[in-house]
Amino acid sequence: MLLLNHLWIILALPLAGAAINGLLGKLWPKSAVNSVAIGSVVLSFLAVAETVREFCNLAPSQIPFIGNYFTWMIAGEATPHPFRVDFALQVDQLTVVMLLVVTFVGMLIHIYSTGYMAHEGGYYRFFSYLNLFMFFMLTLVMAANLVVMFVGWEGVGLCSYLLIGFWFLKKSATDAGKKAFIVTRIGDFGFTIGILLVFATFGTVAFGEIFPLASQQSETVLTTICLLLFAGAVGKSAQLPLYVWLPDAMEGPTPVSALIHAATMVTAGVYMVARMSPLFSRAPVAMFVVAIVGAVTAFYSATIGLVQTDIKKVLAYSTVSQLGYMFLACGVGAYASGIFHLMTHAFFKGLLFLAAGSVIHAMGGEQDMMKMGGLRKKIPVTYWTMLIGTLAIAGIPGFAGFFSKDDILEAAEAGRYHHVVLFVLGLVGAGLTSFYMFRLVFLTFFGQPRYDEHKVHVHESPKNMTIPLMILAFLSIFGGWFAAPRLVGRMDYFEKFLAPVFASSPGGDVAPAAAEAGATPAMDLVHALTGWPVIVGILGLLVAWWFYIKNPEVPKRLAKNIHALYLLLLNKYYVDEIYAALIVRPLLWISTNVLWQVVDEGLIDGTVNGTATVARESGSQARKLQSGNTRSYAAWVIVGAVAFTALLFGILGVKR
């Protein structure tokens, strides 16, 4: 119980690291900065480990374990429902999973960064931001009420902004940072209103107090709340229609893309939906919206990923689509599957990004796959790890992705809110995923080098980059085996572990119950191994092989034949342009012509200046009274004295 009683330590460590590096790092050598940054994260990982150990010894009655540290803000004590926000942290199974993922992946990526950023300026700044991000992410994950969660939520947003624009001399980077920030704000707007609505409805914002009351609320209210909250999730997790910022976010350093824009932050939306599952589960409409959005996003961004040539862009779109899968899972009520996929995705997508980073590192900053090729021999470690990651994401049996994605699709097919459309979209998306991932691998590592070998000196990355790759590769293989027993019709450990969290949500998860019953016919090994997901996965592999190994001119011909579609995909359905035309320009026009010239200059400035003018005028009039002339003052004093005497004796009639 040492650390459970001091959960804040987990947060304090990265914060301290950020503060120290941010304030003093400028003066220190890189080694010192490294030791501070990595040390803080490693320590907080160890703290998490210890916490988890202690957590496992807790009796079910003690879960969720809540540590309440101080009342952050309180208003209206008199009222029956004062607005009271405690700075409270809580730990339950869901939190444990997230904590482990965040701190562990974060730790690895920190280590990786020491290699990747070795030659960059603003070294200390980078690590200070990174630690700060860890702090906010952990806050978000451990928050025991919506407001504290929101703090973390916005904090990670801030850090994402800072890190995307890390190379602030590059205009594209800063623009991307602003874009990410603003687009996310749109969602956060909904999220904020959702929080307020929650308070208005339940009179509190603490999870522990909300959920018991959920059943008493009407479905419409819950639906509204859930949709508002989901809006936040859409923004943060880059779902349709607010996904546009994530691809641009690739302007940031690759470790950032790996940590923030693949492994942790972007999954915050999923986490939040899972966390609020008791509410969502009572709002079928909201659930359906979530599912639809997830499925569509999964398919949609996969299609875009087909034709991208920038290695990181491909990964970005695949991230979006994977997040779509997670929401799909949540939407069909398979929260555990969603979180499971979140975890595995954190592993293999982190791995993929880091590997891509390693490739870029090796290519000396080149990101265009068309200028790569044949790297397999030159950077074997990167190659193998990346291959593993690809196999994992493609859902090839035995790898982590297989289990989680299979779970999700199966839930979409037979889950509580199942719907054939969802299933089909997910399935096609899965096929596309495996196709473009293998396309990436083949383009990068196979075939003839398409770059000038004299200019580019390809070299394997240093140890501190490759070792994290290996560890993540290992996890990408075995990270999914928690769910292995399902294949033989047994209980899925992961879902079993998470079950208490979602138990309160009616029919949240059919899987455990079914598994207990052991009578779900779908659940036998053969069927699982020959299920649709596996088939489409392998199909994608083969098509990619056919396209890019066997006869490489096919894609070009195809692009020529269906040129319109190709362009459409290449330009990402022109979404950015559409947004610009529909939203940005009108907004700009209104801001310039109405808000600026009429409201601001006319009304606001008018009011302010008018006040000033009135004050000045009245003052200059009143000034005439103050002649600075002693005699006049004396005269006024006498006036006062007479008035006072009259008051005292005459009017008040003081008894003499």
């Binding site: 002649s627 600075g628 002339n629 002693t630 005699r631 004396a634 006498i638 004295a641």
Partner: protein
């Protein structure tokens, strides 16, 4: 022995006070204005003593004592200020001294 009602003294002090007030307004010479203030203080002192006598209490006298002392201190500082003023502005006319105006 004597048969002078207190009210006589009080009225006298009132008259003196009023005259002092009038003088403050009327005079322009800063020193004279100063003296008028002293006159008012004296009038008040007279009232004090008269009341003290009327109630056969000495507190009034103590207050007079304090008033006198304070008046002395005031005169010291005030006259120093007057001297500075005269040196800086070459005039003792308060109407020429209107630095209080912004």
């Amino acid at each position: 022995m004597s048969a002078v009602p207190i009210s006589y003294y009080l009225v006298l002090s009132a008259i003196l006070f009023g005259l002092g007030v009038v003088a403050v307004v009327f005079k322009r010479n800063i020193i004279t204005i100063f003296m008028s203030i002293e006159l008012m203080l004296n009038a008040v002192n007279l009232a004090f003593v008269a009341f003290a006598r009327a109630h056969n209490q000495l507190d009034g006298l103590v207050f007079v004592f304090f008033v006198i002392v304070v008046a002395a201190a005031e005169a010291a500082v005030g006259l120093a200020i007057v001297i500075m003023l005269a040196q800086n502005r070459e005039s003792l006319n308060v109407e020429r001294v209107n630095l209080l105006k912004l």
